[in-house]
Symmetry: C2
Subunit: 144 residues, 2 copies
DNA sequence: TTCTAAATGCGAATGAGTTGCATTTGCATT
DNA sequence: AATGCAAATGCAACTCATTCGCATTTAGAA
């Protein structure tokens, strides 16, 4: 649903009221779409600098990402490990990562380990709306 | 084991080679011990300012916390919501939290939901050594 | 008591992210 | 197609957490 709205937005068919589809937003959107991993605002800014002839303002990137988040186009996440803030296009999947302590590679998990868990039971009066999980360890290349 | 080492460290019986048990470290340790929640470096710094006659340097607090983390005296964590970095005395338990998105209260979970899960199965060639988990939602006071 | 590596203080520097304000630009409406 | 204006951008200055270099102090081993 969100995804369909994003597609429409990109095709410039519809867009939420009071939202403009500028070239800056298109560029940020394209970078997020082409990325196969979550990106930080600075990473996005750097890629913009390389791919575009005209430079963008950093503040614009931050504002675009905030706007995208409000429109649910992207999901903002903080890596639990180092606190890095990254943005990821909302493709509908629910993704967790296994983080290698050696090379810091992030391997997306195929399935959410909570799919069959009933977490509500043990949190009493707490209403759960989401969760965040990171596994730590060593990838096959770093087991040496 | 870590806990015993911490106790010994505090009693000034043993301490890892090349590690000094200074009054600054004692003070930071005491504050962490008395705290019933994870604290940020700035929070610790502020409490030091109030409780001690002499002022500490902020950089010293950061360096102490880094050293404590390397010695596994404390655990460094990043809060999901706002990205705040906090430190918590390593009391030996394996703790996860439910974090209220409204009041930011952190409710420790009694049991680790992974206790009976075999995560290795779904990560293929990844060797898991640890994990971090945070649930978020709304506590009973904030459900309004 | 002496000696030295480790720890601290201080202040400057960094880096991520934000903000105020003047200027530009989608885009809805003529 | 021209107009009008709210929304978006650029820019530069700012905040805030954290780090770093370096001179000075100090814990604790010898």
């Amino acid at each position: 649903m969100e995804q369909k709205r994003m597609q429409e937005a990109k095709m410039n068919k519809t867009y939420p009221a009071g939202m403009k589809w500028t070239k800056q937003r298109k560029a940020v959107y394209d970078i997020l779409e082409q990325a196969n991993e979550p990106l930080s605002a600075v990473q996005i800014y750097n890629r913009l600098e390389k791919s575009e002839q005209e430079a963008f303002a950093v503040s614009t990137v931050y504002r675009i990402l905030t706007a995208f988040e409000e429109q649910h186009f992207v999901t903002k996440t903080t890596w639990i490990g180092d606190g890095t803030v990254v943005y990821e296009l909302n493709r509908g999947e629910h993704t967790h990562y296994a983080v290698c302590l050696e090379c810091h590679k992030r391997i997306p998990l195929e399935h959410c380990p909570f799919a069959h868990l009933h977490l509500e039971q043990e949190t009493g009066d707490f209403t759960i709306t989401g969760h965040k999980l990171e596994l730590y360890g060593y990838c096959k290349d770093c087991k040496a």
